[in-house]
Amino acid sequence: MTAVVLDGVVKRFGDFTAVDGLSFSVPEGGVFGFLGGNGAGKTTSVRMMLDILRPDSGSIAILGRAPSRANAPQLGFLPEERGLYRLMTVTDTVVYFGRLKGMTAADAVRSAGALIERLGLSQWARTTIDKLSKGMSQKVQLAAALVNAPRLLILDEPFSGLDPVNQGVLEEIVLEMARGGSTVIFSTHVMQHAERLSDRLLLLAHGRKVFEGTQAEARAQLPPRLRLTARADPAQLPGVASAVAAGMAENGWREWDVTLAPGRAPADLLQHCTASGFALRSFDLYRPSLHDVFLHLVGGGGR
């Protein structure tokens, strides 16, 4: 079953098209990265999934149903713009959101207590939000998103504003949710988080899908790059698109940055060098990062 399906979704604000014919699907279970630069249409798409905004055209299915508040008991949502009721206590806040999602008072209190303890907030359970630090407030908001143990957890830029320790805590929670069978969709423009967490990802630019697939498929979008140490210029080798000298020659050996032609495998090149007696001292495969993929697919204008 798919957790989320968007089919040809368009959303305009006046003359500005925020989301332009977006189609993708998120399989149930696992972590799905929703990547894109600022203004790429991530938040608008998330708001449409939650029925906060309605698309101008196209269709959306969330856990097999149209977006509506009826889905709230199965959804968790951490918005990009964080805020809480300043005069509510930590416990009351988490319980309030649990109840808004259809939990009974007793279940909401029980679940809130467990989460508050898990996130290290027990000491502040009866403290009002205005007395908490920003980091602690963000944990409270995360607890509010998780209180109903959602089947689908949507996190909009969840790591912004968190210190490295709390980023680690959040990553752990995300992975744990996914291991437990939940689907986690998180939007970010920080590729390292997506790299560490997401099984599949979607890349957006200017409201349009640029890429959808696994991380390996994303990296395959870039031509393979190698660093060779050779006596001769590798540019003439079969499958090599370009070779640039990376340093000064030393005893006749020189380092070369080599880019293969699209579709050519590094293993084929190595086999050819061995068979033809092309002298090699090192053969290092350079693994492109999602950052590289992003820059390659979106370019500087996507940010």
């Binding site: 959804l75 918005p79 805020g83 009721y85 309030y96 808004l100």
Partner: protein, 486 residues
């Protein structure tokens, strides 16, 4: 619990837990209590003392009798008011309590004064006790060390220190306001304590004049009996007063509760409207709406806020009304005197639901305005730009109208404003006590209900569209477009 009630409950609990709310709740009863207490403790006693030295012994008893007659006349008037409020027979067996001649007052005194009249009136158990008005003037004996037989100048010198202080009377110490010396011949001498008490001085002068006229008449050959008759002569005036239970004073009594409700509506809306505004602006500026709106429809959120803040307003109103009822039924005083008969006047079965309808619609109509302003504003500063004209548009005409209603509830202005939905709740609430036609109630009620429904629909669209908007509040054109966008 459904989501509307959850939103309402949260808003209600958050506001009632604040110190500002508790102060608001207590401020009116506290102020009323303090004013009453201050009045009771600090108000100078209304009764003042006077002394009269009359070596001849003929004039002083006449003046003292006049002072007593005037006081008893006042008692009769108060008793007449009391009888009218509680639908009792008049104190002297006719309806002339407001304009009584000396003979009637003499008869009243002869029949036992207030005590005798009350015994004849048989006030019911629920009626408040009649409170005798304090006598304005109490005659006290000339102090022993003040000579009365050594002329006016000696009397004046000796009495001067007493005029600067209080003097012992049968009711305790009271200021000595006036000292009178009545010589056998020549002008009557009067010393006052500086606070001109013209009432007593006029009375003394009138009595003295009357005696002089009588003396002149008898000196000119008119018999004493005829002279007295001439002096007592008054042009006959037939006074037609409205029957008990009607007339202007009764109109005011009946209008007291509806008028108070109109003011309460205005006050409650202004207070809770401000809270509502602040709440929505906080939610918008805190960026917490998105998380809430993921669980709650904007319409549910709006209705929840109206219900929650409405409950806050009703709590304030209920607390104030509770205090007023407490004052009406357990504490004697001016409030009780007005409230008890005014509440008793709400005896028509339709009155309470009609009052409640106008109050509810008025609250809803203005609360929605505040809520919309909150949804359009990023800060209280933004909100002020909308708030000021809206508040003025409501407040000034309402204040003008209420004073017009007090003058004449059926005047053109109140009648016209009753049909303008923005002012209907105030106009109709304020006029209900004075008698409005069924057509007016049904017509204005229907118009108001339609207006409030349309307002909720159109401003609800603005509220929904503006909740997550950032940037500058919309201009008029954009605002109208938001209202019409489905």
């Amino acid at each position: 619990m459904n989501r509307i009630l959850l939103v309402a409950r949260r808003d209600f609990l958050q506001i009632v837990s604040t110190r500002a709310f508790k102060i608001t709740l207590l401020i009116v009863p506290l102020m009323l209590g303090l004013v009453s207490l201050g009045n009771a403790l600090l108000r100078p006693p209304s009764t003042v003392a006077f002394v009269m030295a009359d070596p001849g012994g003929r004039v002083a008893p006449v003046i003292a009798h006049r002072v007593e007659l005037d006081y008893q006349r006042q008692v009769m008037r108060d008793l007449s008011d009391y009888a009218a409020r509680w639908k009792l027979p008049p104190p002297i067996g006719d309806q002339a309590g407001y304009r009584t001649d000396d003979a009637a007052v003499e008869r009243f005194i002869a029949q036992g004064g207030a005590g005798g009249a009350l015994a004849r009136m048989h006030p019911p158990a629920g009626a408040g006790a009649f409170k005798l008005p304090p006598p304005p003037y109490l005659r006290v004996a000339v102090p022993a060390d003040v000579p009365v037989d050594r002329g006016a100048e000696a009397f004046g010198r000796a009495i001067a220190p007493y005029l600067a202080n209080d003097i012992e009377t049968e009711q305790g110490k009271r200021p000595l306001a006036v000292a009178v010396y009545i010589p056998a011949r020549g002008p009557l001498r009067l010393w006052s304590n500086g606070r001109n008490d013209n009432g007593l001085i006029d009375t003394i002068q009138q009595e003295r004049t009357r005696l002089l006229r009588m003396a002149l008449l008898t000196a000119n050959g008119v018999s004493s009996a005829a002279a007295a008759q001439i002096e007592k002569l008054e042009a006959p005036v037939a006074v037609s007063a409205p029957p008990a239970g009607s007339g202007r004073s009764q109109l005011m009594v009946r209008s007291f509760v509806p008028l108070a409700l109109a003011y309460l509506l205005l006050t409650a809306v202004l207070i809770t409207g401000g809270m509502m505004l602040q709440g929505v602006i906080e939610e918008r500026s805190n960026r917490l709406l998105e998380a809430v709106l993921a669980c709650v429809e904007p319409r549910e959120f709006m209705v929840g806020k109206l219900v929650g803040l409405g409950a806050v307003g009703l709590t304030i109103v209920a607390a104030w009304i509770g205090c007023a009822l407490l004052a009406a039924f357990f504490i004697d005083g001016a409030i009780a005197n007005y409230l008890q008969p005014s509440l008793a006047a709400l005896n028509q079965p339709w009155m309470i639901p009609v009052l409640a309808f106008y109050f509810f619609c008025g609250y809803l109509m203005l609360a929605m305005l505040y809520l919309t302003i909150g949804s359009l504003s990023n800060s209280m500063q933004d909100a002020q730009a909308y708030l000021m004209p809206v508040t003025m548009a409501v407040l000034l005409p309402v204040m003008l109208m209420v004073s017009a209603i007090i003058r004449n509830p059926s005047g053109l202005l109140p009648r016209v404003m009753s049909w303008i939905p923005l002012y209907t709740p105030f106009a109709m609430l304020a006029r209900l006590g004075s008698g409005v036609t069924l057509v007016e109630i049904l017509g204005t009620g229907l118009l108001l209900a339609i207006f409030v429904s349309l307002e909720l629909l159109l401003l609800g669209r603005v509220f929904r569209a503006s909740l997550l908007n950032t940037g500058q509040p919309p201009k008029l054109g954009a605002f109208l477009k938001l209202m019409l966008d489905r």
